[in-house]
Symmetry: C2
Subunit: 138 residues, 2 copies
Amino acid sequence: MTDQLPAHRRQPLSLDTALASFDALWSPRIVTHVNDYDVRVAKVEGEHVWHVHDDTDEFFLVLDGELEIALREPAGERTVTLAKGSVFVVPRGTEHRPAARERAAILVFEPTGTLSVGDRHEEVPDHVDATTGHALQA
Amino acid sequence: MTDQLPAHRRQPLSLDTALASFDALWSPRIVTHVNDYDVRVAKVEGEHVWHVHDDTDEFFLVLDGELEIALREPAGERTVTLAKGSVFVVPRGTEHRPAARERAAILVFEPTGTLSVGDRHEEVPDHVDATTGHALQA
């Protein structure tokens, strides 16, 4: 019942407004929920860490800039490049490392509770936030 | 394993390219899958039908143009307007009717198999496609 939703979920939300509300890189904000999934947005620049989600696919949409995702597949390592307005799904179990040469903004869909650094990952540097997503400040 | 994916899912997809590949209105195309969810895009203009998804929320992102969603809530009827780049989730069980005064393009995220006209709906006019989403032609 929408009447029971918090006020900020009863109106449409501009993704530009959401992105303007924070500065942190690699620190996703939860924009909204769809059943037991989150829609999150993040500002990114530089390299994330190699990590794996064992039990879930991960959907990426580039809202601004360009995103590279390095993938370690059975056939070897490759990198896909997502221009603004492009989408890509990293299949569950595939080790991957997102990166952006310049500042970019992305939207991701994934199950609520999914950790930004996956179930297994290399050492997390200071510039990467290991989180299940932060609430957007109204 | 990404090596087992069809070729078109092993590379990023431009949503503009996807939208350029068809003309039909209110006839969603499946862009990709995320676990047991679909990401679909649709071109829209005019009014859809009042309908309800009893068991799932429905996520909307406006890619181009402007979308209105009329909602029948316990407190009464209201309409939300989504500008380009805005998102909104229609909660499960809420009767709603999307509409666009001029041509617009949207992205939706919902469980695979979700019918475009919901579980209950008014009579479906010829200009609305009752579908669980069509495959995108490569």
